[in-house]
């Protein structure tokens, strides 16, 4: 019940939070990919298990991001604490966005296309999701995952290219599509409006948001995405075919034939699996 109250406030107006560390962090340039972690998630120590080993001055860093830090702290210490606080928030964020409420918050950002669009021409501006290549901090910067071509791209802007990928983690976009299979982008045609298909996690029509948990259970209970099969969707995917004066380039054409044979074999395998399950 507490988190409901917190949510109401945060969606109400930004000014309520103008003094908090988290709202300052979220509004800093370059931090656009982050969503707001609910305060009660941070305050539940269970969710932070193990993080005290990752962060220097962990108790003070935690106090800083929850706005409980003593004011009489020295400036130079505060500066170094800020680095630790960002790391702590990032690692909490990685855990938060794979919870139901966190997924829902990131889903809102996805629908508002806050992570950019796929640079691949044939993905027709498919919105992207942030992903890490590792869950360990300080190793790899954040990348962007496209649910249509199922590949990862570097952010266009260098201010996003320097964000730690561990703050988003390796799991997030794949869990999102596992939990919300109706959001899996189609392989052809323009992306459905607002990145989403028919099912609305958040609706703009003034109706209050449904409980995300109910929704997840509904999806799971219905075996995820109903009878919709994804076994042969790859056959619909467009691909680019290099040509010289209208003729295909032989070595590339050969590679593409091989790739399509691999694709067809997977389709056959999945369809066989499906028909076996139906019997």
């Amino acid at each position: 019940m507490l988190h409901r109250a917190v949510e109401e406030i945060s969606t109400g107006s930004d000014s309520d939070y103008s003094s908090s560390w988290i709202s300052w962090f979220l509004s800093s340039k370059g931090n656009e990919y982050f969503c707001e972690v609910d305060e009660d998630f941070i305050l539940d120590r269970f969710n932070l298990t193990g993080l005290n080993n990752e962060i220097v001055n962990y108790p003070q860093a935690l106090d800083l991001i929850t706005d409980n830090l003593d004011d009489d702290i020295q400036d130079d210490f505060r500066a170094s604490l800020d680095v630790q606080a960002r790391l702590l928030y990032g690692l909490i964020h990685a855990r938060w966005i794979v919870t139901t409420r966190g997924l829902a918050k990131m889903l809102e950002k996805y629908k508002r296309i806050e992570f950019g669009r796929c640079p691949r021409v044939l993905c027709q501006q498919q919105p992207l999701l942030p992903v890490g290549l590792t869950d360990v901090p300080y190793e790899k910067s954040v990348k962007l995952y496209c649910g249509r071509c199922e590949d990862i791209y570097s952010p266009k802007s260098s201010r996003h290219g320097s964000i730690d990928g561990a703050y988003f983690g390796t799991t997030f976009p794949h869990l999102l599509f596992l939990v919300y299979p109706t959001l899996i982008p189609p392989k052809t045609g323009p992306p459905t409006e607002g990145a989403a298909s028919s099912r609305e996690g958040v609706d703009s029509s003034g109706r209050r948001r449904r409980g995300v948990r109910e929704e997840v259970q509904e999806v799971v209970a219905s075996d995820g995405g109903e009878g919709v099969s994804t076994a042969s969707v790859a056959l619909k995917a467009d691909r680019y075919r290099p040509r010289i004066y209208g003729f295909q380039v032989s070595e590339i054409a050969k590679l593409q034939r091989w790739q399509e044979a691999v694709r067809d074999r997977q389709v056959a395998r999945l369809e066989a699996l499906e028909s076996r399950n139906e019997v």
Binding site: V121, P242, Q266
Partner: protein, 351 residues
């Protein structure tokens, strides 16, 4: 025709590039670009000391163009058919070649009309020029200076790309970038290229370029390096520790490909293809380990020995077993009513 003098060195070509990359978000670039274009076109026209061609190529957004030589443009054979496409042909030619116009040229109402004709003329000549030996040479110089940028796909590991069009007819689509490693095309990262016609580069150039410079074309097969340094990106293909790469096909690409393919994972487990959200597009980026495997598929795209079941599909069996272990656990958690979110976090520790 009167031309306003400008100082060429104030053109913000390079500065723009930096700023765009650093300062702008994904959505707010378009507005800014419009300004660029207008700056480039209306407020500045070349001085007599700078040719129209080099002025044109120095405009923001025109970085991909090379300078077509005047003798190429003056050879009528190279222009065959273009005079029916380009309006105000004669005036456009005079502008592009910096020829003083005839006195009776006053009948043209607006210089900007001739300017756009000149742009189309130059663009279409450029499409042809870059298919010549001299044009390819001019473009490889730009390529090696990294003028065209790199592939945005992570596992192409910053492979240099070249401009290309999706059509040879002007007015249909803007310029795109072709990556020789993934053989795919991308939207240029900066929106200042959104005003550049793809036909000015054409559909053929990118591929003729890599046919002409085979040492720049990645081979169609890829074998991961044996061990140790394999993950540390074999970027220095000429490096002493890396053995020289050979494609047995002498007409094939002679560069070692960047062959890694993204593998989606949930809590460290590969997502099974059996899941509805499982991987469906791996084939698009996959390369066989050896050139012989390419021959296992016939010209119609069928496996020659029936159901081939070799490499390339690496350990699909393994994946499934892993995920089967994982799947039921995950779903039982989802169905478990209380503290769902906390349990998911806990699952993260399994890795």
């Amino acid at each position: 025709m009167p031309r306003n003098p400008i100082q060429v060195d104030t053109l913000p070509a390079d500065a723009e590039l930096e700023e765009d990359e650093d300062g702008t978000g994904e959505g707010d670039e378009i507005m800014e670009e419009v300004d660029d274009q207008e700056d480039g076109y209306t407020s500045s026209t070349p001085t007599s000391t700078v040719t129209w061609i080099s002025w044109f190529c120095s405009l923001p957004g025109h970085e991909f163009f090379c300078e077509v030589t005047e003798d190429f443009i003056e050879d009528d054979f190279n222009l065959t058919g273009l005079n029916t496409i380009v309006p105000f042909w004669k005036e456009a030619m005079e502008m592009v070649l910096d020829v003083e116009p005839d006195e009776d040229a006053t009948k043209i109402p607006d210089v900007s009309i001739v300017e756009s004709s000149a742009e189309m003329l130059y663009g279409l000549v450029h499409q042809r020029y870059i298919l010549t030996r001299a044009g390819l040479q001019a473009m490889i110089d730009k390529y090696e200076n990294n003028t065209f940028g790199t592939c945005p796909r992570v596992y192409c590991r910053s492979m240099n790309v070249v401009p290309c069009g999706r059509s040879d007819t002007p007015g249909l689509d803007t310029v795109k970038l072709f990556c020789p490693n993934c053989n795919d095309i991308y939207v240029p990262p900066s929106s200042r290229f959104q005003g550049v016609d793809g036909a000015f580069f054409g559909t053929t150039f990118a591929h003729l370029f890599f046919q002409s410079y085979r040492e720049l074309a990645p081979a169609p097969f890829y074998k991961p390096m044996s061990s140790g340094s394999s993950s540390a990106s074999p970027k220095s293909s000429n490096g002493s520790s890396v053995p020289a790469f050979v494609n047995p096909n002498p007409h094939g690409g002679q560069k070692r490909a960047e062959g890694s393919v993204y593998v989606p994972k949930i809590y460290g487990f590969k997502v099974s293809e059996r899941a509805k959200s499982g991987p469906r597009m791996k084939w698009l980026r996959l390369r066989p380990e050896s050139p012989e495997e390419l021959d296992m598929v016939d010209w119609r795209g069928r496996w020659i020995n029936g159901d081939y079941d070799g490499e390339g599909d690496d350990d699909e069996e393994d994946e499934d077993r892993q995920m089967e272990d994982f799947g039921p656990v995950f779903f039982s958690v989802l169905n478990y009513d209380s503290h769902f979110s906390d349990t998911l976090v806990f699952l993260g520790c399994y890795r």
